[in-house]
Amino acid sequence: MCTTCGCSHGETRIDGVPTPRTGSRSAFHHADPRALPLHRHADGSWHGSLRPTARPARHAAPLGAVHDAALAADRVVAIEQDILARNDAFAQRNRQTMHDRGIFALNLVSSPGSGKTTLLVRTIEALKASLAMAVVEGDQQTSLDADRIRATGAAAVQINTGRGCHLDAQMVGDALTTLDPAEDSLLLIENVGNLVCPAAFDLGETHKVVILSVTEGDDKPQKYPDMFRAADLMLINKVDLLPYVAFDVDAASARARAIRPGLPVMCVSATSGEGLAAWLSWIEHGCAAARNARDRNAEGLRRRVAELEAKLAAAARGS
């Protein structure tokens, strides 16, 4: 990301294909090269200009009247709207889609290198005989993680956020359209490795799961409280390395629970397989609960039947 203007260049890609985002209606500064003072990006390219943006002083108003900006009266307009309302609306749409299909969706968040992808691969290997699974992979660049997931046989979509630091609900909604996850399946969303920004963005998941590896230090919950506050489960990963590092499992758990009272904690090693049985059992319980919730909700079932009937009609027209 550009450190002068904070721009992320709209580089989001899903499986390598750029996604058109419905952006701001006004000229964001990229649309207008005159809008920002001249500054240099990390890749050496120049951006912006020394000229200020011209703004017309007069403009046409409704009914042909002409307003002079300097003369028009100041007003204060009440708005009372959440900044994240748009993301939350997309998240709600994702949540409804997954609810109607009985999908249990997990948003896995952690710092880079905590072992998220290895844990996903182990999880898929263990459950693929009994459960349909799909994976959304988030990374700034490359499809390395989606390739690792696909090697297990599970369906995966790679979202590349470009210079963006988190997944948002609209990206996940686009990925869901591509993936079309099955009824009664498990959806695993591996967020961008970042212990700060993904905490703020609801993706429509059933639970956020925070992964903390023992090589990172047991003080992480205190240093990055927002993420631990947002999580419904904490996995302490790489516990096979505990003999070699100064990591106090009890202290890490206590610190996380000071931020998020009652937070369940599981100790696992994605490499050795230690502790994975509890994690897998937790997932299976979640999947059963998601199926039951769908089966008990007549409105959701009706929406799903309508969706499938539309698909059936389209297929019948095509054949």
Binding site: R25, R55, R75, C165, V196
Partner: protein
């Protein structure tokens, strides 16, 4: 730097409102930001200035009203002030706290002409 995404969210709300009330210019944006919200106000100001260039809110002043963090302390059975996540109840030292305020991130009002 998710503050870029937040600033773009603010701009989208402001632009929609400016169109609704047929304003030619937005000169002030008032935000309500909780002390416990996932946002760094300084970074948000920086990003707001960047994303509003060339928009209806170009050069607008950003006024941030901070809302205090509040929690319900279960052992005390009352509302207490909370400066940050992971802090104990100032009265009894317990961590059995339910956050009830201070996570707001809202556009409150805009000044237009």
């Amino acid at each position: 730097m998710h503050e870029v995404a937040l600033a773009e969210g603010v701009l989208r709300i402001v632009e929609d409102a400016a169109i609704r009330c047929q304003a030619s210019r937005v000169h002030t944006v008032w935000l309500e930001i909780g002390a416990l919200a996932h946002v760094e106000p300084r970074a948000l100001r920086f990003c707001f200035d960047a994303v509003t260039r060339g928009s209806v809110a170009d050069g607008a002043a950003l006024e941030i009203e901070t809302r205090p963090g509040m929690a319900w302390c279960m052992p005390c059975g009352e509302h207490v002030a909370l400066a940050g996540f992971g802090d104990a109840c100032p009265n009894c030292g317990s961590y059995q706290l339910q956050v009830v305020g201070g996570e707001e991130m809202r556009v409150k009002e805009i000044g237009v002409r």
